[in-house]
Amino acid sequence: MHKEAAIREPLILGDDVTYSKITEDVLFTIEHEPTKLWKVLMTIATITALWGVGCILYLLGTGIGTWGLNNTMGWAWDITNFVWWVGIGHAGTLISAVLLLFRQKWRMAINRPAEAMTIFAVFMAGTFPMIHMGRIWMAYWVFPLPNQFGSLWVNFNSPLLWDVFAISTYLSVSLVFWYIGLIPDFATIRDRASRPVQKLMYSLLSFGWTGNAKAWQRFEEVSLVLAGLATPLVFSVHSIVSMDFATSIVPGWHSTIFPPYFVAGAVFSGFAMVQTLMLIARKAMRLEYIITVKHIEYMNIVIIVTGGIVGVAYSTEFFIGWYTGVQYESYVYMSAGAATGKYAWAFWSLIFCNFITPAFLWFKKVRTNLALTFIIALIINIGMWFERFDIIVTCLARDYLPSTWRMFFPTWVDLGVYIGTLGIFSVFYLLFLKYFPVLALNEVKTILKSSGERYKNMSDEEFKKLHPVFKKDIK
């Protein structure tokens, strides 16, 4: 029998958990009519999404002059949203890939919803640079395609182009990773489906998966190698996003700690978003015995670590701003810039949300308290938005020439597109919760015997008694 260390707390609670109970409970939402809560949320999300689509169409039809941008502030709210969404998209693949390589079994309860979140978030992120192009129908120009302008190629020295490759690779590889994990679970739904439409839909989605020994062997190999490939992706994507800023010469952007600082911040915000979504979903779908308080606590610990790294990064930036003696750098950080300038409110919101609030998670009582976790996660989400706003807007607003100093004021289109993407994201997420297996069934089942509460409390003798191999052993 394969057991893990006794000091580890069980990951699946309850004495009555069997393989079929896991199947039944996880697939409950798929096999039953949607609840009232789901319908209400879906209606709100759809209206918000339609509003967002409307704003985007208006923006494209009129031009990006409808945003609050000006000559100095070429990037502001839009790129803030882009970085924010990409950051959120970092938790999923971190959970499913990095934690797979580290053999962390607790990832199995949350990897599927976290990865769904990743994919939808990266999708939302991708829309911002695209609509920022103004003429979105020219978006294919970002690819090195043969053309009739004397065959003018894209510039491979530019971090913006690296971003094109990084984000699209990240999105498509995460999607493939997620989908390969989904195939066996779609097969489970297919084999249980009673309604013909449902049966047809899930047979198409499950690609004719049979679950024989060789297929499972290949499945595990593919998961492992994809995890190995996705791990450097997780770190490279946000590093490259940070280079959009770090390789430029804007004071406050031009700093070498940006890549690790951005990656830590991304994981920080991603986990906060997973907490926000899962705390509601686990309750609404009655999956508290699989996504336990222990899981929430583990995620909070990741938030403490990455939040700590982000905090150190903030201090480093300030220290270097003073220590280098570069007047532009120190101006951004020390005087009229961040802390006391016109954007001081944004700066202090950031410090409050990302530095002070997460510190409470050091207390075990706080990080095992679901309501407090939810509030803190929500505050971190807001704080991470302010972090990107601070980096982009504060630094651009005060560059080398005082004559070019401008303020950025968002318009209703800025706001509307942002709220709209939240709506579109929620529509995708709610559809995922309703029509997709929310947890990785096949993975949760593999840890039932090693980490389930019932089996952990059992001695080897009891286990063998319960699972007799030969009929002669039954008395």
Binding site: S203, F207, I240, N442
Partner: protein
């Protein structure tokens, strides 16, 4: 002949017993991977990881060749005082795209190979013998012709183990 079990542990132990008695287990259907089963029923390790490496290397060489052609050969530009003289002097700023494209090719190439080798593609029908093998049943597929024992001997041996049901179809 299909031997249906309701537990992965029982199936694994039974498989060890049956194989020791000279029965060849042609396949096992289960709702999740049973660790330790592959050597028992004589499955070789898969070579998918090697294909991933090959696809990755193809991606890396394509990216290097492509950027050499676009940036050095076809239309060299002096961007920001950084002229494009040769691939060697420019390669540092090509590293991110080389890496990303390598990963892209490795991941997608391997995923497609996985689908083809498993013969799981959109529109295919699932060929598992019982629908519950994707939920909580574990099934061995045994053909009497594969071993020297007769059908009745095999059945008797399987019946020694805690099998739920033996189904012949």
């Amino acid at each position: 002949m299909y031997a249906i079990y309701d537990d992965d542990y029982v199936l694994l132990e039974s498989a060890k017993h049956l194989v020791a008695k000279g029965i060849h287990i042609r396949d096992v259907f289960s709702p999740f991977p049973i660790h330790g089963l592959d050597p028992v029923i004589g499955l070789k390790t898969t070579r998918l990881a090697i294909t991933a490496f090959i696809y990755g290397m193809i991606g890396v060489s394509l990216a290097i060749t492509g950027m050499w052609y676009f940036m050095i050969q076809d239309w060299p530009l002096n961007i920001g005082g950084k002229p494009n003289f040769s691939i060697l002097t420019n390669i540092p700023s090509f590293v991110p795209v080389i890496f990303e494209f390598g990963v892209l090719c490795a991941a997608h190439g391997m995923a497609i190979t996985f689908m083809l080798r498993n013969w799981t593609l959109p529109g295919f029908k699932g060929k598992n013998p019982y629908p519950r093998t994707t939920d909580d049943r574990f099934v061995m597929e045994i053909h009497a012709a594969d071993s020297e024992l007769s059908e009745d001997e095999i059945k008797a041996l399987i019946n020694e183990t805690c099998v739920l049901e033996i189904d012949e179809k």
